[in-house]
């Protein structure tokens, strides 16, 4: 287990060895703040909260997280470094966890850089800080779930473009399952309990709870299970 650290460190610092990190962080900031301001009506809503910021995150992550996750394993396969990595004295699990936590930490860094937005809200009004903290926590957990799915898909190919497209598609399904518009359509021909069940498989209902400041253990368990399941499959795919 102690072998996770060197992998994590190399991977995390690796983001800053190329322009990718800076491009990603800037796009993430501009897009999330831009959506909140111009589409979400951050100021018009006239309320001291980050609701208009968080509401777009499941959609933003849909493209941004596959962009980070696509290279995790595909790049190692393409460059042949996977052979180097797996002939070093570490286990497959060490490598899977090291890479996952490095990329997750990088995403959480991006998220943390949006914090001036929260400070602005605090300066303009009197927000409920508990709700804001819940939103950030939920967003970080949700990012982990998207990322775990992308890590799994990246391990199936040596082509990063394929890994990206698969990541968008699979995550899109997970977003759609819990999207109110889609659930509205379903309720036209499915009984309510069935629709609820389907909705609960998706990201949005669980994230919404966090964004409202509700910390329900079942929402933690949901994101935790998605991460654990995806990483287990990732491990199995690499062990084959």
């Amino acid at each position: 287990m102690s072998q996770i650290t060197p992998v994590l460190k190399r991977e995390f610092l690796g983001y800053f060895r190329s322009p990718v990190a800076y491009v990603f962080l800037i796009v993430f900031l501009v897009a999330s703040v831009g959506l909140a301001f111009f589409v979400g009506g951050f100021f018009k809503a006239n309320q001291a909260s980050l609701q208009s910021f968080f509401v777009f995150q499941p959609w933003l992550y849909l493209f941004l997280i596959p962009a980070i996750g696509m290279r995790l394993w595909a790049e190692e396969r393409r460059g042949g470094t996977i052979e180097l990595l797996f002939t070093l004295p570490l286990t497959t699990l060490d490598a899977v966890l090291g890479k996952f936590f490095a990329a997750w930490a990088f995403l959480v860094l991006g998220l943390a850089l949006t914090f001036p937005l929260a400070i602005t809200v605090g300066w303009l009004g009197d927000p409920d800080w508990g709700v804001i903290a819940g939103g950030y926590l939920g967003s970080a957990l949700m990012a982990g779930a998207y990322l775990a799915v992308c890590s799994l898909l990246s391990s199936l190919t040596k082509n990063q473009v394929i890994a990206f497209v698969l990541g968008v598609v699979v995550n899109l399904v997970l977003v759609f399952l819990g999207w109110s518009v889609f659930n509205g359509l379903l309720s036209g021909f499915l009984p309510v309990p069935a629709v609820d069940f389907i909705a609960n498989l998706g990201f949005i209902p669980h994230f919404d709870a966090f964004a409202k400041g509700i910390l329900d253990p079942s929402d933690f368990a949901y994101f935790g299970s998605v991460i654990a399941l995806a990483l287990t499959l990732n491990y199995v795919a690499l062990e084959r």
Binding site: Q3, T5, P6, V7, K9, R10, G14, R17, S18, G79, G80, T81, E83, L84, F86, T87, L88, P89, L90, T91
Partner: protein
């Protein structure tokens, strides 16, 4: 030191390695010869724990690689074919990463190991250069430095002189010789002069099977007066 018994590996319906057995003792430099596609790399990948054999065993210092891969990996220095490395890292960053995974957690010890490896492979002048900007010869040396950093009892080198110019080849050969004293070394090649220059044992492999296992002198005595490559051609013509 390295003991291989009845190794078999099949890709789809192609048997790449078909019952390969041999032993390498400390002090041996084993030349692993065969035409392209004979199964040299596949055999090495099974010894180093990158691929799981379909049948047979590989043990290093009495440890079965299938039973305790991490223990075996920590005793081997492996230079995979074409010396893969993380191109965006500098030489020193990369070797530091290897040192960390190899268990040298104290910065001072690690620096010492890295400096020693840099000196042995004459990499000091490019230490701060990104690996992807290095010439083929230097990249190969980085692969070497990585393989011998932890002073392993076993070295597995897959075509270590491939793509080097004659001077670099000579340099690599004397490096291998100097390291071999109390180590078990396997090096694969399809160049005969190489074996003649440094190996004290020859194994010829053809279509996944060992066809010769003897000393260079015995090999030469097979057809007195003939050039080595003529003997080699006779032995492996089935592959063409």
């Amino acid at each position: 030191m390295i003991e291989v018994k009845g190794l078999v590996k099949t890709y789809g319906n192609k048997r790449a390695v078909d019952g390969v057995s041999f032993t390498v003792r400390p002090g041996d430099i084993l030349g692993f010869l065969g035409p392209n596609g004979a199964g040299k790399s596949t055999t090495m990948k099974m010894i180093t724990g990158y691929l799981r054999p379909d049948a047979g065993t590989a043990t290093v210092a009495g440890i079965d690689v299938a039973k305790d891969p991490v223990a075996v990996k920590s005793r081997i220095g492996y230079l995979p074919e074409s010396a893969p490395a993380y191109g965006e890292m500098t030489v020193v960053e990369f070797l530091n990463f290897i040192g960390e995974v190899r268990g040298f957690r104290a910065a001072a010890t690690r620096r010492e190991k890295v400096e020693r490896a840099l000196a042995l492979t004459h990499l000091e002048s490019v230490r701060r250069q990104a690996i992807e900007t290095l010439s083929k010869g230097y990249k190969q040396r980085v692969g070497f430095a990585q393989a011998l950093l932890h002073e392993p009892p076993c070295l597995v080198l897959d075509e270590p002189t491939d793509g080097l110019d004659p001077n670099q080849k000579n340099e690599v050969r004397s490096l291998i010789k100097s390291m071999a004293a109390d180590r078990a070394v396997i090096l694969s090649t399809h160049i005969l002069e190489e074996v003649d220059a440094i190996c004290n044992r020859i194994i010829v492999i053809s279509s996944g099977k060992v066809v010769v296992d003897e000393t260079p002198d015995a090999f030469r005595a097979r057809k007195p007066g003939a050039r080595l490559d003529a003997i080699f051609r006779d032995l492996t013509s089935a592959d063409a």
